[in-house]
């Protein structure tokens, strides 16, 4: 197994390792380098973001007017489902794994990930899974259309597209579990001497906790969809009421995975924001220890709140109250984190480069999503708002303005280290402001639509909802097109190698190992010799 760590023989101090690189495509297929794999994860997730975005824009086009215009209702359901699955499992999660691959070894002073070949495998499973998802559009009956939550009994009755979807989820789950095992092992076993757990950068801490969450809940999802598969093909009745099963059981098992999954998609975002804000406020992170404890509390609480996604299934009052209060409790550690970020900025010497803009935008807009989440946690309110556009607005505020903004913040923050060139600051600022404005044009009206009772996942609507839907559609196209600007900015510094050369530490307040110990761009093999951490 030592060969796994000893990638390309660079464990020997006498050579650099570049000479063993296959060139061209095979370099990327066979690579075990954490930086290559991180890059592939990030490009994969950006591709998925564009595919999922095109699906979303098709939805918004259909919703521009009441009535059925461009897609039939069955295809509309496939689009909502696939938009959700692709964004969650194809865009957001792989993007954070990409960050983990690039950053964790550099931030803890390790030469590479613990299991470099498994790392390669984790990545290359993803295009396979994504292909299955795309192929499912072309089988009889079309792609999965039961919503990204693939609730039984819809999912136990659909055509072969659902089987492809289930296999894709199995494969992505396996990829996530392997990636998480890799990350946990790397963080626990391969830190540089002197790098105690409580000296680790917050991004590493949040990923350690996220990876544990993934190892705990991804197998539960795998179990749930395996049961769906068995109900579909092997005559079992886990969720089939006619055979003594219970469709609501699927919701319980799914959300036992699903709620921790929500935090899997936001905790690494918290980590990125906790790196960016101190760097641009030129102050150390306020309340480091409380950040660690808050992150852990959120992770632990995430296991006991799942039924707040299903307040309307007919639970006894005691259950409703328990899940309502447990959910509201999560606002406490989350509030601690927001407070700490604000306190970090307080009286700091702040400058507002693009990463900081996205980070401050994250705090502002994510907190709005957090508050709508609190409203939805109140059970009597949720009964009214269940499955309305209010819920859609809420989770896009936390997933787009939360996770995606953090991904942008992190990308702009580390692009100088990854490519060795400074991105175009003017265009970056344009990207931020266009994203912020169009995001709010898209999703803010959805609050009103939801409060007025417009149901989600329906291609048609009553005519009084028309104006807000048209505003949202215009905003969605603006937001989607703005992301092409991001593509241009990244291509410019990476593929076309334009832009001024980045110094080793372009951000004055940044203090983790990749800035202080490595040049820009980071060499292909970093930290052969572990750095000494004081």
């Amino acid at each position: 197994m030592s060969a796994v760590i000893d990638t390309h023989g660079h464990g020997h101090a006498d050579h650099g390792g570049h000479e063993h690189q296959p060139s061209g495509l095979m370099r990327w297929v066979t690579t075990t380098n954490h930086k290559d794999i991180g890059t592939m994860y990030l490009w994969f997730s950006f591709t998925m973001l564009l595919i999922g975005g095109v699906l979303a824009l098709t939805l918004r086009l259909e919703l521009f007017q009441p009535g059925i215009q461009i897609v039939n209702p069955e295809f509309f359901n496939q689009l909502t489902t696939m938009h959700g699955l692709i964004m969650v499992f194809g865009a957001i999660m792989p993007a954070f794994v990409g960050f983990a691959n690039w950053q964790i070894p550099m931030m803890i002073g390790a030469p590479d990930m613990a299991f470099a070949r498994m790392n390669n495998w984790s990545f290359w499973l993803l295009p396979v899974a994504a292909s299955l998802l795309v192929i499912s559009f072309f089988v009889p009956g079309g792609a999965p259309a039961a919503g990204w939550t693939i609730y039984a009994p819809l999912s136990t009755q659909m055509g072969p597209g659902m089987d492809l979807g289930i296999f894709a989820l199995h494969i992505m789950g396996a990829s996530s579990i392997m990636g998480s095992i890799n990350i946990v092992t790397t963080i626990l076993n391969m830190r540089a001497p002197g790098m105690t757990l409580m000296k680790m950068p917050m991004f590493v801490w949040t990923w350690l906790i996220t990876a544990y969450l993934l190892i705990a809940v991804m197998p539960v999802l795998a179990g749930a969809i395996t049961m769906v598969l068995a109900d579909r093909h092997f005559g079992t009745s886990f969720f089939n009421a006619a055979g003594g099963g219970d469709p609501v059981m699927f919701q319980h098992i799914f959300w036992f995975f699903g709620h921790p999954e929500v935090y899997i998609m936001i905790l690494p975002a918290f980590g990125i924001i906790s790196q960016v804000i101190p760097a641009f406020a030129r102050k150390p992170l306020f309340g480091y220890a409380s950040m660690v404890y808050a992150t852990s509390s959120i992770a632990i609480l995430s296991f006991i709140v799942w039924a707040h996604h299903m307040f309307t299934v007919g639970m006894p009052t005691a259950g409703l109250l328990f899940f309502m209060y447990a959910t509201m409790l999560i606002a406490v550690p989350t509030g601690v984190k927001v407070f700490n970020w604000l306190a970090t900025m307080w009286k700091g010497s702040m400058t507002f480069e693009t990463p900081m803009l996205f980070a401050v935008g994250f705090i502002f807009v994510f907190t709005m999503g957090g508050f709508t989440g609190l409203m939805l946690a109140i059970m009597p309110v949720d009964v009214q708002l269940q499955d309305t556009y209010y819920v859609v607005a809420h989770f896009h505020y936390v997933l787009v303005a939360g996770s995606l903004y953090a991904i942008f913040a992190g990308a702009y923050f580390w692009i100088p280290k990854w490519t060795g060139r400074m991105y175009d600051e003017t265009l970056g600022k344009w990207h931020f402001w266009l994203s912020l404005v169009f995001f709010n044009i898209t999703f803010f009206p959805m609050h009103f639509l939801g409060l007025a009772g417009m149901p989600r996942r329906i291609p048609d609507y009553a005519s009084q909802f028309t104006e807000f839907n048209q505003i949202a559609t215009v905003g969605a196209f603006g937001f989607g097109l703005s992301q092409l600007l991001f593509l241009y900015i990244v291509l410019k510094v990476s593929v076309f190698a334009q832009g001024e050369k980045a110094p080793a530490k372009p951000w004055e307040g940044a203090d983790s190992l990749e800035w202080t110990h490595l040049p820009s761009p980071a060499p292909y093999h970093s930290f052969h010799e572990a750095p000494e951490v004081k």
């Binding site: 464990g11 190892i215 999802l221």
Partner: protein, 187 residues
Amino acid sequence: MSALAAASASNRRMLKKLLVVALGMFGFGFALVPLYNKVCEVAGLRELWQPGQADAAASNTQVDLTRTLTVEFDSNIRMLPWTFKPMASSVEIHPGELTQMVYEVRNTLDVPVTGQAVPSYGPRLAGQYFRKLECFCFTQQTLAAGEVRQMPVVFVIDPKLPNDVNTITLSYTFFRVEGANVKAGKG
């Protein structure tokens, strides 16, 4: 290299531990099925699942065994070339008991004919206590040339039937549905 080998061995141990956790959680996903059911049963979250109550819910408490009724069956034809008769002229039943009676009808012509049966009750007030769950009188019946058909009526007598009624006569009269035979092909 020995430090590297030690690190590799400890990484491998960690891999095994985490794999066991992942496999355990996969099993836990399946264990959630009996777990949730048990929790619901113990906490009484789903009343129908309480032991004893399921039987109670299933048993029919509405049959009034203290009373016995005679239901007589009658059949008439109005302007139809059919023969029409019940398989029995009367039955003895309890109020609340689910009962089925079969009528037989024969088309004596060599062309399809459509008819509609209309029920009437004696005494007339019994009609509102006569609950039909299934009846050939719910729809028009089209018989092909020379066809013989057995048609059921499934009914329950409401136990609230007044005590002074001991015999109910159910009488059906089949009427010809004029003009229906031109589209009888699809009937």
